[in-house]
Subunit: 166 residues, 2 copies
DNA sequence: ACGCTGGTTGCGAATTTCGTAACGCTTGGG
DNA sequence: CCCAAGCGTTACGAAATTCGCAACCAGCGT
């Protein structure tokens, strides 16, 4: 899905305040409220963006975060990713290329909680051949989003790859 | 600042849908809309929680995300973390225990951008003894929020949360 | 007892969202 | 060439939500 300048600006504004009224965004962009509503719905439906509440884990009672590197039997990465993504304590799931196939970040109350997760739930998922856990000692940086890249100025197409996906 | 059950449930609901109307949250919790408004304001003011739009970088024009595992000479982890955290393309920096010392996630425009980062900036940082890069293929989950821990023992267990509106 | 401060409710006014109909534009077939 | 279909957009009234109070009720320190 291709983004135009309106999409980009909507995302930028919602990155600053996820509850900004659509009417205000619309005013600023010089379009109708209905359009902003339509675009946000579409961006959400296409999973380009979502509006969520995020909380600082340290301030709401968690003290254990773990990054788990997972090796998966070939061809099952997608499926395993879906399964582990359903864990409520999973905060991040990404498939990667390299020594490992999947990265999973989980946030737990304590070691017992994590032990339960690892032994009783993670290791029961078929397709997982091995796991490697990294205890997260300290989060030094956690960007809540990424600046929206500049609009293709004028009509300049983006200078690289033809958009292959979807 | 500590949280009571109302705070926890508000956070839980907003984690599912950051735009959920306060009136609906209030109804579900059996309190007034004004109270929910007050609590959300307070949680935001105390930086316990915030409501933001988050976008998938791979879908808004960044074509390359890489997780870099870094080994650091003992005692320099903190310093190296600070240095790499200053890179504008760093979206996540955490120190960990295990095979590696530091995890660094970067978001780049293209491979040239990443090559520059790796060769010209990362490898020049002293204290880094080795790096291992994992190309991020697909982000399956990016919660940026963490389930709210259960209320302390004694308080009633929470019924399963209703699915946020589609 | 007193006054304070923080937490909570209620209510009406202002604002926002929602549902829907209408319009234009492009695309693909016949 | 014309029509039908689908998407993107606007407009507008109705419904729902948020906002701005004022009032009230604790608990607490003096």
């Amino acid at each position: 899905m291709d983004l135009d300048d309106i999409d980009r600006q909507i995302i930028a504004q919602l990155q600053g305040d996820g509850r900004r009224p659509f009417t205000q965004i619309a005013n600023e962009l010089g379009v109708s409220e209905g359009l902003v509503r339509y675009r946000v719905q579409r961006l959400t439906r296409e999973k380009v963006m979502q509006v969520v509440g995020i909380a600082d884990p340290l301030k709401i009672g968690f003290d254990l975060m773990v990054m788990v590197g997972i090796r998966v039997t070939p061809g099952m990465v997608r499926e395993v990713a879906d399964r582990v993504g359903k864990f409520p304590e999973a905060s991040y799931v990404a498939s990667i290329g390299g020594d490992l196939d999947l990265l999973l970040e989980v946030v737990c109350r304590d070691t017992a909680h994590f032990a339960d997760l690892l032994n009783n739930r993670l290791h029961h998922i078929e397709g997982i051949t091995s796991t490697q856990t990294f205890l997260i000692l300290e989060i030094h940086k956690m960007a809540y989003g990424w600046g929206v890249p500049d609009a293709p100025a004028g009509e300049r197409p983006r200078p690289h790859l033809p958009v292959p996906r979807e």
